[in-house]
């Protein structure tokens, strides 16, 4: 036992560290003490500001390791853990690390034993420190200080309160990130200053040393409030990653209570505005009829008019869809009974389609008009109104299950496809629908009514040709 020649038996050693985060100093002392075989319970480690008086009678002189002392063994895993764990604010950390180093000498693979209490503790310290560092990278908030001197330019200053001794260890991160920016980070444990070329350290600071605000924070707060989705409140998830202790130095955190309080109201308003809350799909035509009479989901439903339900056999192979009821349809409560309906009937008869065998309905269920004296003038429905009403036409399709749908006019086509198409481009050929049926698109008969002379003849010919193609296709499908 050569080492004992250098160590007074029963001596209690006291090691004063110059800095709370000085790993190299700790490593130097710990190496000597291990080489001199000083057991962990004979050493007190005292950091600056720590209670060193308790050990006033301890031995401050370090023992000198013997010439033939064995080298101290520590694997890389231990060194990297220790380097980080020493930044922790736990005053016991130096002793814990020494105990581990001591035990490593006889059991070199001890660090792998994750069930060992000392190993677990050092990993916990390491984890806490890494988290604190990570939160520092995330939550430091710089504020701009304008400096009169043109030469110096802008200076960004942050106030931050880390839990552990991590300031110096993280200087590099901020230097690499903001290398061409003058910045300072002030903390209660010390401060860092970077002038785009050199890093300097300063004494501990107080909150009022840092600037109180920055005009850019208004924009940042408004971004924070806008990017938040009130429809998915998850307060616990937020608190887990951004505990309240950090809030006081983050300009956006002041908004949180109001955002949470307002969330429910905002979501309800969004839903109401979006008229999103449809009930279950009605499963009979009678139920649809009843429901459309009560429908006020778009502005058309709020005019002085009546809903007009489709009519025809519930198992019709052909569904004919128009745009919306007109003045006469609205009064009689039936589709296609006005001038356009009469024209449609004539053309259907001409090509040999039996209207009574078809289910005839409209893309929009209510009559949209503007009042001009005593007359109600037809207005085209808007895209949004057609989309809103699509719910009903889809419900009808789900029940009737036609093999072929004939949409007359751009509004009807939108009601089926969800997008606006050009009639001249899509007419004359089938468009597959997702339920396996097919859609044919043609002009609306009221379009023919508005034309004269040769233009009308031409369009009537095209209309007949479309109807004839539909009839042929129906025969193929039958």
């Amino acid at each position: 036992m050569t080492a004992l020649q250098h160590v007074k038996l029963g001596t209690y050693y006291v090691v004063h560290l110059p800095e709370a985060d000085d790993f190299d100093f700790w490593r130097e002392r710990a190496r000597s003490l291990v080489q001199c075989d000083v057991p962990p319970d004979r050493i007190a480690w005292v950091e600056p500001g720590g209670s060193g008086d308790l050990f006033a009678h301890g031995e401050r002189r370090m023992p000198v390791p013997p010439m033939d002392a064995k080298p101290v063994r520590a694997n890389r895993r231990f060194v990297s853990l220790a380097r980080n764990a020493i930044l922790h604010s736990d005053p016991e950390r130096f002793a814990l690390l020494y105990r581990l180093l001591w035990r490593l000498q006889s059991n070199p693979r001890m660090m792998e034993d994750k069930a060992d209490l000392d190993v677990r503790r050092v990993e916990e310290l390491d984890k806490n420190v890494r988290r604190d560092s990570h939160k520092m990278h995330a939550f430091v908030r710089f504020r701009l200080v304008e400096i009169e001197d043109e030469e110096v330019g802008e200076h960004y200053v942050a106030w931050f309160e880390p839990e552990h001794h991590i300031l110096r260890a993280n200087a590099g991160f901020f230097m690499r990130r903001f290398s061409n920016m003058r910045w300072s980070i002030l903390t209660p444990r010390g401060s860092l200053h970077w002038d785009t070329e050199t890093m300097s350290e300063g004494p501990p600071a107080e909150r009022h040393d840092a600037p109180g605000g920055d005009p850019m924070e208004d924009l940042w707060r408004s971004y924070y409030a806008s990017i938040f989705n009130p429809a998915r409140l998850k307060i616990g998830a937020m608190l887990k990653e951004m505990p309240k202790k950090y809030w006081k130095n983050m300009p956006e955190a002041a908004l949180i209570p109001d955002l949470i309080a307002g969330a429910q109201g905002r979501e309800a308003k969004m839903v109401e505005k979006g008229a999103l809350e449809f009930e279950e799909r009605p499963d009979t035509l009678a139920a649809i009829d009843k429901a459309i009479h009560a429908c006020r989901k778009c502005p058309i439903g709020q005019l002085d008019n009546h809903a007009v339900m489709g009519e025809g056999p519930q198992d019709a192979a052909l569904m004919i869809v128009g745009e919306q009821p007109g003045d006469q349809e609205d009064q009689m409560g039936r589709p296609f009974v006005g001038p356009a309906g009469q024209l449609l009937d004539a053309h259907l008869e001409k090509v040999g389609i039996d209207r009574r065998a078809a289910y005839v309905t409209n893309a929009v269920k209510h009559f949209k008009y503007v009042q001009r004296g005593k007359r109600r003038l037809h207005q085209n429905p808007g895209a949004k109104e057609i989309d809103t009403c699509r719910w009903w036409i889809e419900s009808e399709r789900a029940i009737v299950k036609p093999k072929l749908v004939l949409a007359m006019g751009a509004s009807a086509a939108r009601g089926l496809l969800g997008k606006t198409v050009s009639i001249s481009k899509v007419r004359g050929a089938p468009i597959p629908l997702e339920d396996g049926s097919e859609l044919w698109v043609t002009a609306h008969p009221s379009y023919l009514l508005r034309l004269d002379g040769s233009a009308r003849e031409e369009q009537a010919r095209l209309f007949d040709a479309d109807l004839a193609a539909v009839r042929e296709r129906l025969e193929e499908l039958a």
Binding site: R177, S179, M216, F228, L233, M250
Partner: protein
Amino acid sequence: MAEQTVLQKLEILADAAKYDASCASSGTAKKNSLGGKGIGSTEGMGICHAYAPDGRCISLLKILLTNHCVFDCHYCVNRKSSNVARARFTPQEVVDLTLAFYRRNYIEGLFLSSGIVKSSNHTMEQIVEVARILREEHDFRGYIHLKTIPEADPEIVHQAGLYADRVSINVELPTDSGLTRLAPDKDARQIEGAMGKVKADLVEAKDARKRFKHAPRFAPAGQSTQMIVGADAATDADIVGKASRLYDNFRLRRVYYSAFSPIPDASAVLPLKRPPLIREHRLYQSDWLMRFYGYKPSDVMQATEADGNLPLDIDPKLAWALKFREAFPVDVNRASKEQLLRVPGLGVKAVGKILASRRHRNLRLDDVALLTQSITKVRPFICAVDWRPITLTDRADLRSLLAPKSEQLELFAA
């Protein structure tokens, strides 16, 4: 109309961007501003600079260049027929905002997307212009994620990849029929074609860098995509299948899921109840199982219930274990890593610790308890020196024993 202020535009265009789930800033090439003229660094790990009360991380300035759009996708708040307030940033305004936020350490960088104005090419050029000014004029070295537009000229998309850390193209909906119905202007083949092109560019750039040290990088953080969950009839099995095909075919870094949420001025073609948020969570869990736990898509599909959806009350790993009880109990002192990874309640880290510790001691139940979050969940599925779950794995009511006590899943359920 009076000119909008930057603040007003920011409110509109951030609000419009919040339905994009991704805010990741991780996994890109390491870079910093030392020796440069500007600011910015990326060091591998992403940083979340704030968390909103919706629990989501705020890492990037996530905004749209404009929310004007010529498309009419029904689930989207910015579709042509929607009645929302519109705004438009100039590229320079986005650049100024990004740098001002970055200097104050609010963000890791920029996630820029846009509605389609004029044409797909014009829009894509504007997006690329923002990235160009940031990178070339300001030597910005922070993170940039650009949303690319599948209909745009591949050459412009390629430019985007040269400036950006990550590019993404949204597949939007898990099924083609859903896309046809809800996004009538989009085309599934075009979207996948564009993803294929980006993949080819990624592979080529990586290859070039092996041979030439200074070959330009192309989107070093790869490409990702997003799917909306609950807006169409797709089941979880459909979604998982689609995601795994996307991972395989296009080497995606991530598939993001976004539970369809009510949007202002919604289209009535979405007459749906909001899917519970937990469904999105279960899909992410299954994504994790496939990426880190060695589950195959078919394994996850086996964990779904009769309706093709993952159970909401228990996680997919537990669901799988309950269906395949013959695979348990697993001996923590002998089982392979693959077997241990299948034990409900054991994460990748815990498995690593078990494998390391058991070289030093025969693990008892108490030892395992020290290495895991909750031993109660793990216990029925493992054997240790002093533990053998004799009856537990055969009990019919195991599921109810292990399922978390019923919580209020939907926050605003009526």
